[in-house]
């Protein structure tokens, strides 16, 4: 069953009365099934935030349909099993961390509000900042509070708009762990990001937007395999006769300045044969790494 479904969605904005309309999103169609982590990628101005706002009913589409669990996303009830984390934390600055979460918890059927808030604060490691006013929190702490507000809801699907922007490495690791834990308990995660490293390390599927249009949709593994160029084997320095042999096998060999050699075997080449040859000649292999096009090149090049 599709949790989220975009069907030929288009959104036009008018900057002012006199200007002609500009398209933020054009004929966008995709579907997200339950229990997966899906990345939503695109450069600035690609239409990611507009798409997420349309999904959450904050903006109306010009044409097309958006469905959440089969219901029209504009119906408030459709958002019942979905939690949203905005790009920036938008909390009332005069409220404390606890009051902010209490406001949100009070809006839903939470059996034990205090317990739920305490547990959520522990997950995002804000348990010692409950009395702090939102205006006194750092950007990273506000982002954690944003995450806590989403986790307070027992949702089926979590939608994040650039969740890791403004986080330090520890915060990023915490968020990745949270994503993984949510995934492990069968939740669906749909998040937009600029940071392609996050896509590679967290997501199973990716949806790529470019100038408001869908440019790629599929598995991350498939995308990465498409960009596979070959294998790099780093060894200790090689004797000249072995270098000649390797070149004869059509391998690329480069000596590095630190008494090491880098052997590159193009995609489709026999890596095992190369390893065997090195082993027979008593050469120590220090690393074997795949070489591929960067995600940026694959996703954003036309």
């Amino acid at each position: 069953m599709n949790i989220i479904e975009f069907q030929h969605v288009t959104k036009f904005y008018r900057r002012n009365f006199w200007n002609s309309q500009i398209a933020a999103v054009q004929d966008l169609s995709f579907a997200i099934t339950g229990g997966t982590i899906v990345g939503f990628v695109g450069p600035n101005g690609a239409g990611k935030t507009t798409s997420l706002k349309m999904l959450m009913g904050l903006v109306r589409s010009t044409s097309g349909a958006i469905k959440i669990n089969g219901r029209n996303a504009l119906e408030p009830q459709a958002r019942n099993g979905i939690a949203f984390v905005t790009e920036q934390p938008y909390f009332y600055s005069y409220l404390s961390v606890y009051e902010s979460l209490e406001l949100i918890a009070g809006m839903q059927k939470t059996i034990d509000r205090k317990k739920a808030i305490a547990q959520t604060l522990e997950i995002v490691e804000l348990e010692n900042a409950t009395k702090k006013k939102v205006k006194d929190l750092s950007k990273g702490m506000q982002q954690r509070l944003n995450m806590a507000a989403a986790l307070l809801v027992d949702a089926e699907c979590y939608v994040f708009d650039e969740p890791m922007s403004g986080l330090d490495p520890l915060g990023r690791r915490l968020f990745r762990d949270i994503f993984q834990n949510l995934k492990n308990i069968g939740k669906t995660i749909f998040f937009s990001t600029h940071i392609l490293d996050d896509i590679e390390s967290v997501c199973e599927r990716v949806i790529v937007l470019s100038s408001g249009k869908l440019s790629y949709e599929g598995a991350v593994a498939e995308l990465l395999s498409r960009g596979f160029l070959g294998t790099d084997i780093v060894t200790t320095s090689l004797p000249p006769n072995l270098i000649s042999q390797l070149i004869a096998f059509n391998y690329e060999v480069k000596s590095t300045q630190d008494q090491h050699a880098d052997i590159f075997i193009k995609s489709g080449g026999d890596v095992k044969a190369c390893q065997k040859l090195l082993f027979e000649n008593g050469i120590t292999i220090e690393s074997i790494l795949p070489r591929r096009k960067s995600l940026e090149t694959m996703l954003y090049s036309k």
Binding site: G57, P76, Q77, T86, Y90, Y94, L95
Partner: protein, 264 residues
């Protein structure tokens, strides 16, 4: 999802939004500035009464009631208009409206929270006014309490108008529209007299349309009756209060409809 559960959830949301709006309003410094300004006018009315050629108590009552009506207008403009505009500009409403909450619940929640804070403020002003009158040996007559109650109803209409205009346009324009609404609402009787004087049917129809769309805020103004001790027609207070509540509800329904279609 069954309907009673959704409705219960909406009631929870309505309460939480109202509570938070109440909290936000009572932390607003403008509220206190206008509150103390109104108290000052009420106090000054004691001196104005002494210098006046009219009866001192009548002048005090006139000034006091006018000060509270004016305070209601200023609060609805400065706080009512700014509140929704600030929510939209600061995007704080994203956290609420991305949840299963309808925009009409948000508008009604804002209204009730604002109304509760401003009515509390109004009650304190009214108590101060009554105390000042009592000190001046003029204990409040029942008609004065009715006048105060109707001023409160007028305040509710003005808050609804402020919210209505702020769903339509920018805070600056909404402030002007709310002020215009107040002035036009108090001049509605004038329209009626123009309608009678004009014989052109198209012109009369246009004026009639405006007359029925705009509220008649003079229904809530019974200062003359209080000052000169003229009895009110039967059920005036209850009919005027019902009129005010229905008009505020109409404005809020319109606000909800407009706000539901607005891109945030």
């Amino acid at each position: 999802m069954n309907r009673p559960y959704y409705e219960k959830k909406n009631m929870n949301a309505l309460f939480q939004i109202s509570l938070n709006t109440f909290r936000e309003t009572i932390r607003n410094k403008i509220l206190y500035a206008i509150f103390f300004f109104a108290l000052l006018i009420i106090l000054l009315s004691v001196f104005f009464g002494q210098w006046s050629v009219f009866a001192r108590i009548q002048v005090m009552q006139d000034f006091g009631l006018a000060a509270m009506s004016l305070a209601g207008l200023m609060l609805s403009i400065f706080i009512g208009v700014g509140m929704l505009g600030r929510e939209i500009a600061d995007k704080t409403l994203y956290n609420l409206l991305s949840r299963p909450i309808s925009r009409s619940v948000f508008i009604w929640g804002k209204f009730f929270g604002l109304l509760a804070a401003l009515i509390l403020n109004f009650i304190l002003m009214a108590l101060f006014f009554i105390v000042v009158l009592s000190i001046m040996e003029a204990p409040p007559a029942p008609i004065l309490l009715k006048a105060l109650a109707l001023t409160g109803v007028e305040m509710a209409v003005m808050i609804a108008a402020a919210l209505f205009f702020s769903t339509l346009t920018t805070p600056m324009l909404a402030s002007f529209f709310t002020l215009g609404f107040f002035i036009a609402g108090h001049s509605n009787d004038l329209l009626e007299s123009i309608m009678v004087a004009k014989s052109n049917p198209a012109y009369t129809a246009l004026l009639k349309g405006i007359y029925f769309i705009l509220p008649n805020l003079e229904h809530f103004n019974i200062r003359s009756q209080v000052i000169y001790g003229v009895p009110l027609p039967a059920h005036w207070t209850s009919i005027a209060a019902c009129y005010g509540i229905l008009y505020a509800a109409f404005l809020l329904i319109m606000s909800s409809l407009i706000f539901s279609r607005r891109d945030l």
